[in-house]
Amino acid sequence: MDRQLASSNPATQVPVDQAPLTECAYRGFDTPCWERREFLKCAATGTYLLVNPLWAARTNDAVFTREARHYEKLPHKQVKCVLCPRECVVDDRERGYCGVRENRSGTYYTLVYSRACSAHVDPIEKKPFFHFLPGTAAFSVATAGCNVNCKMCQNWEISQVRPEQVQAMYLPPDKLAQLAKQTGCASIAYTYSEPVVFYEWMYDCARASRPLGIKNVVVTGGYIKEKPLRELCKVVDAIKVDLKGFSERYYQEVVNGQLKPVLDALLVMKSEGVWLEIVYLVVPTLNDKEGELRQLARWVKSQLGPDVPLHFTRFYPQYLLKNLPPTPIATLERAKQIADAEGLHYVYIGNVPGHPGENTYCPRCKRPVVERIGYQIRGVHLNRGKCKHCQQPIPGVWKS
């Protein structure tokens, strides 16, 4: 679970290097995770961001406004958005469900192009990606807005607001790519809120950063239609999907969305060959039934294959779900047991720093090949993507 920790308000911006420490403290884990070199690297980034005049809130919305890529014009100045499965039909001067796209006289615009409300250097493990360049940093950005409304959203202060309700900086694609390069990040992560709603900016950033050798990773709910998704898969390297539950009822009542389009999107991602990981936030009493977890594991194995990593992460009371307790660790362990038993090779336990379920184990010899504590890599026992002990190939994108 990729929680945006530092304030989205630049006036009170927490230096980006502090974010992981705060995260650890939040979970009762008070050992600093970052090494000196990483600290200095990120301090430099933080300083740059703080002194960058672009952080000054731009009141001129025009600079952030671009015509949307995926919509249809309808009679009487209406438009139909075809970016996500909602297919909002939007009247003139109105916005879609996401709150960041507006119909202006029959033309549909995104209002968040280059409008970054959050920018931090994070370990890639925080997204979490466990099989994608472990131990590297990801330059992580977000804009306001989301196309669902999860009751347990931990970033609702940016995901459930409109762009003009949070301060933002102007961060065009070339600038973002340079910034990622300067800070030594191996990738740019589109994360925190919902990248689907800032699709145009994400797409252009991915294209601008590739020539610089920067990878691009997307952290999404996967609520996106096939055509834009296939286009996106051509320019990004990895996608992590938050599969919120495995029942339509849960999606309807807790997420305000639908499960089927997300499953369809997962199949598209797989078919496009982009690296894929899945996170399942286990919410006590709502999506933690054994049958549901077993169905999930079976579906992943049969439709995506046993090598797709599946992370069961711990829920903490947030936003509109403050009446539930944090997920018991035993529940997460039970979920992992179920998925392991169904034949998935890489099942993790997340948001429980220090748990052995954070490590990657070789499916053949069962020895750890990547050892983790929180977001910190404690040891990598891989040789060119193979287990050092038994030479079993471990799927993923590894450092050469």
């Binding site: 009487h76 003139d92 001067r93 469900y97 709150g99 607001v161 509109l320």
Partner: protein, 349 residues
């Protein structure tokens, strides 16, 4: 169960095992006294009277066929006269100021929630807002205690209002200036931040919606106008706004401060709303006024259906956008008003 007085609670006396209170004469008198003190102590705001002596909700439809001059422009004098007649009819008072005193008291900050999203032509009329401001001042509200507000300064300007964030006169201000509450308010399926103009500035809110068809929620009138008070209205158009519209109105600051709805039905939109659709508007030259936003919405909805039928259009139910949220607003979980026509008294003047 809370223990009011030692020794007065007796357990196990109820037939169903529920504890019961044996109320002594002294206790009874104390309770009556306390209740009276509480009800009389709410002197900060006038008590809104029952809508009618019959126990039904009153909706006044005030019409003036000569509201516009020969060029089609609204006459400010006639709008003001129509407004005062409507208020007098609603409260059954001989003088306009007496009627207004049923809603506001001198010293209070009065917010006027207009509806400006559609720009000039399908927004709350400037003439109506001017008339309300004038009437409020005649009722003893200082101009600097009147705040006309909506979502954005730009929306207010597009509807013909001039922004005035401070100064001695009436203020015109968008929510983008003062922002939203730090506290997240929740009811049912709605969880929202509420604009500071409502939570921190205004003591009382007078709702000034427009009578319009809505392409998603069926109609947008009094209840839905309060979507303009929250930070995330785009999240609440699912399922034709049901139950979201009712849930948003239930948010404590909204429910407690909105006192009166005065609906601008001078040129309602019966199709293609909420946008400005001149081909689907008609000169109704009316105001709909009520203390009950649910009853007002129900009557407004029927007027739109009637006009749609006259124009040969399908009813909203067939288009899958019947405003069911109106019924939800009246249900036992909300009780925001009534939508049973038998319990609505329509007064046409």
């Amino acid at each position: 169960m809370r223990r009011w007085y030692k020794g007065e609670r007796v357990k196990g006396a109820g037939l169903d095992g529920v504890s019961v209170h044996h109320v002594t004469r002294r206790t009874f008198c104390r309770w009556v006294g306390a209740a009276s003190a509480i009800s009389l102590g709410c002197s900060g705001a006038p008590e809104t009277p029952p809508s009618s002596t019959t126990g039904r909700s009153k909706v006044v439809i005030a019409q003036d066929p000569k509201l516009r001059d020969t060029r089609g422009k609204l006459s400010p004098q006639r709008v003001a006269a129509l407004l005062n007649r409507a208020l007098q009819a609603l409260f059954d008072r001989d003088h306009p100021a007496e009627a207004w005193h049923q809603v506001v008291r001198p010293g209070q900050v009065v917010g006027l929630k207009v509806n400006c999203l559609a720009g000039k032509g399908a927004s709350t009329s400037v003439e109506l807002v001017e008339a309300v401001c004038e009437s409020l001042q005649q009722a003893g509200i200082r101009p600097d205690k009147i705040v006309v507000w909506d979502r954005l300064n730009a929306d207010l300007e597009s509807a013909g209002f001039r922004i005035r964030e401070r100064g001695p006169g009436v203020r015109f201000i968008g929510n983008d200036v003062l922002g939203y509450s730090d506290e997240l308010y929740a009811h049912g399926k709605a969880g929202s931040l509420v604009c500071r103009t409502l939570t921190e500035v205004c003591d009382v809110v007078i709702n000034l919606p427009v009578l319009k068809d809505h392409s998603i929620t069926g109609v947008t009138i009094a209840l839905k106008n309060l979507f303009g008070a929250i930070h995330n209205p785009n999240k609440y158009h699912l399922n034709a706004g049901d139950p979201y519209v009712a849930d948003v109105f239930m948010l404590p600051p909204i429910r407690s401060k909105v006192r009166l709805s005065i609906c601008d039905a001078f040129t309602p939109v019966y199709q293609g709303g909420p946008s400005y659709m001149p081909q689907w508007m008609w000169p109704f030259n009316s105001l709909l006024v009520s203390l009950d936003p649910v009853a007002l919405d129900y009557i407004g909805w029927q007027l739109i259906e009637q006009k749609r039928a006259e124009a040969g259009m399908k009813p909203l139910r067939e288009l899958k956008r019947e405003p069911r949220y109106i019924f939800t607003a009246a249900d036992a979980q909300h009780r925001l008003g009534v939508c049973d026509p038998q319990r609505i008294q329509v007064i046409r003047i």
